[in-house]
Symmetry: D2
Subunit: 290 residues, 4 copies
């Protein structure tokens, strides 16, 4: 398929390469053109404008950093999309922004798909993302070959783009809660002279196998907050998107409040660029542990 | 080894059978003698008193329902234990009770091991428990053949019995947080028209593989609170033990507060005998979902 | 003094009348002109535009409903203000909006004062508001005669307009917490068969004299949520401004989380137009009380 | 009236003196007899035993430090009370203990009144306490002259002693929430460069007149945690009584969780003997303020 790809950060570049490996014809665009160069080498065509990335494409994907960027790109995109081309937003966005973007495209008679992705950059490099498309069934259907090139599994969120956004945010929320719980539990056992590594094993060899507890249990038991997978700052932005989604839906999320407060304290202590697992240190300190 | 076993509830019977299967010589005792009968058939000797269960035993294990029962049994046990016999408390007890029992035995010159177990009755039947012994190394060492007969993995908590208790409580705490998080996340996606089953798949095929999210994600997405693994009432008792352990250690556990409040609401609504995953329904209702 | 006044809702009309009673020369403006009519009768001149309200005025006050309205008015105001005229924002605004508006005026070389008010419409009618000006001392000084006409007490917030905004929001926050605490305490005593009226007396004749506990204790003990002083919907908007101010400052406010969650449940239950004291009913229901 | 008084701590001595001033015939008893001496000078008779304090008394009041002490005194008291004499517990006790004590007296055919008091030792010295009796109406009635001697106001809790206990605990709870709210609000305004003293004035000259906000607003704005009215340690004991009362009644109290967590952090930081208003410093630090 011919596909446009806008937004060439670390995730966007990896996803574009997956599309190329999958045999698709990819036209990339990035506001700062330098990042496009390495993709040209890998076989992508480089567009000079958003409009150019749309020409002849069956779908145009965006992978941009935040809601403001998405809204900006969308306003150009909706002017340039050929009839029948599907715009697909693959970043992590708030449900408010996704609804606004969907409405803007709808006004222009354009179907819109939100397809946020699950997985770290490493998974993106290997084409092993989880992909969560939400939008009109026919539009989603047409994009499936693209999703297959980028991911190992597609989870259909339903007909509403914001459903996909909600799943992505809720998944991140559950992860934030898990990190907070590990941090609280770890502080509790440390108070009773337990080696953190033993508690990590109890969790991960028992009820809590799987990547979340393995990764964050290890980070927290080793207090290894300088190898950064996801910064406190980004996690706070994410937590605010989660709480905004809950607010729009009139839903209390008390566990989100708990870990967002940890992130605020970490920010206040100057740890905005550390890994967000540092929430566990905030917890430990609240009990006088250091 | 010759071993006494006091407390023949469902867990205690299954653990006694595992000991018998492992070739150990087991003397069982239960306050109400009927429950001992089936173990006699399986090869156990039945003691008529706590004192009798101690005679000639290298270790005497207790698996009783709560701290009060443990303290009662302990006061008899310490009068009856032969020199060198190790008392082993295998139930889920508060750190305060475990410290008091350890002190009582220490006064009588008796080493004491707390060895709470991880796993449901099914795991106990299969000899597949996790066992978390804490206590003097030499005493723990002597009990290892018994633990091996009952479990598939032993996690050494260290020299303090209360360390073992803290690990068990912290493990249950992390599980409570996971259930609460699934409930909150599930309510969030339901607000955006997502099929709960899809969110369950996203969690368990992604970051949250492992029994906790599989089991409780399924229960919550199916709202199947009548098949009861662990009642709201027991979960509240447990949550109170967790918060008491944190209180003794001067440690805030905000996530425990969150899910304990859910359990209180479930109790208030008359759901004390439902599965504790019903916390998710309390959450859903707080956002007007039913 | 000659003063422009923009925004003639219930509060704005009352404040304009206070200015007129104080002998000031008031030019009023409202987007929908009908509301200006009654002020014309009271002696005000009616401007046809924001620009006209500025002509010859020493200060131009705004009392508009939300941050969006303030930002809109500001963009016109900064084009129209004569040199030396002080723009004064008297509504309840977020610190983010106030900082943005201050910056916009600063760019145009205009000093800017935020002067949010304390008190209900009744207090505004009587010229009995509390007024909390923040901004350059010289600009605040010049407005004092106007504040004196509208209020019984002026609290100087300091040189920063956002300081005034923070005080106003923090005052509302403390009130929200008080309502939540009354609600929780009332539910607790009701559980032990106490007449709510008795608890109301204990509070207000003891440690908690003063309007907040008198007013809301009465409303809550009578469950009188249909006489609306401040709606759930406005209170939620307010709570979000408070949490946004805390977020910008990197500060956890756990008590704000608690009562915001109550408001969300009240919204979800369709009570958005009830008095926000209905938080107490959400609390009571969480314990099975009705 | 002739009245026994057991428990001569600071509060008990002050209350006994009020009874003497009111013309009552007071027989005092204290476990450590030294404290009784000063009351002998003031006209009290000194009993050598609990039994002696009961002889001929129409009521016997206790003012002891905690639930354990009350239960201990009660077991002796119920053996010694003449027929018709009313035992009155005036300390701050848990609802569980009060119910147990009431049941013990009921078994012995003795009516029982719980009458916790509102006010600091200074108020007790001046006979200006609030008194909250709960118990059988006839028994309460007979004690009214005694209450009038000690207090300026009596609040009738109803027929159940535990109702009185619940009111006392709920009153303390509302105070704890107020302190927490002042602390959070103060931290918020400090983040925006507001002089804490100004915020204190805004609160207390506006919605929050009355002793609670005056006293604690002053302490917190001055960070004066070394003049101790009520220690962190006692406040934590109190918070646990409050949460236990809520637990027994199956009621979540999220605001109690919030401030109890503050007290735990203060304890963990070694501030157990500071004034409990130091919760505000824990809050400030959670936002990086010092």
């Amino acid at each position: 398929m011919k596909v446009g790809f806008i937004g060439l950060g670390r995730m966007g570049r990896a996803m574009s390469r997956s599309l190329l490996r999958g045999g698709h014809d990819v036209v990339v665009y990035n506001r700062t053109p330098e990042k496009a160069a390495e993709l040209a080498e890998a076989g992508a065509r480089v567009a000079q404008s958003i409009a150019e990335s749309c020409e002849g494409s069956e779908a145009v994907m965006t992978m941009v950093a935040n809601d403001e960027a998405l809204e900006e790109v969308t306003s150009q995109l909706r002017e340039s999309l050929p009839a029948g081309t599907v715009p697909v937003a693959m970043g992590t966005h708030g449900v408010g922004a996704i609804k606004a973007v969907a409405a803007a495209h709808a006004e222009a008679g354009q179907p819109f798909v939100a397809a946020p992705v699950l997985g770290r950059p490493e998974a993106a490099e290997e084409g092993a993302l989880g992909i969560v498309p939400g939008g009109p069934a026919e539009a989603v259907e047409r994009c499936l070959p693209l999703f297959e090139a980028m991911g190992k599994r597609t989870f259909r969120a339903g007909e509403l783009p914001e459903s996909a956004s909600a799943i992505k945010l809720a998944n991140n929320f559950v992860l934030g809660c898990a990190i907070e719980a590990i941090g609280e539990g770890m502080a509790l056992v440390r108070k009773y002279d337990v080696d953190p590594q033993v508690f990590h094993e109890v969790l991960t060899e028992g009820l809590f196998a799987g990547p979340a507890y393995n990764t964050y249990g290890r980070i927290i038991s080793a207090e290894d907050y300088d190898h950064v997978g996801f910064t406190v700052e980004l996690a706070l932005k994410d937590a605010n998107l989660i709480l905004a989604a809950a607010d729009l839906a009139r839903l209390p999320l008390p566990s989100a409040n708990v870990y967002r407060d940890r992130l605020l304290t970490a920010m206040a202590e100057g740890d905005d660029q550390k890994d967000w697992a540092i929430m566990a240190r905030v917890q430990a300190r609240s009990g006088g542990l250091e």
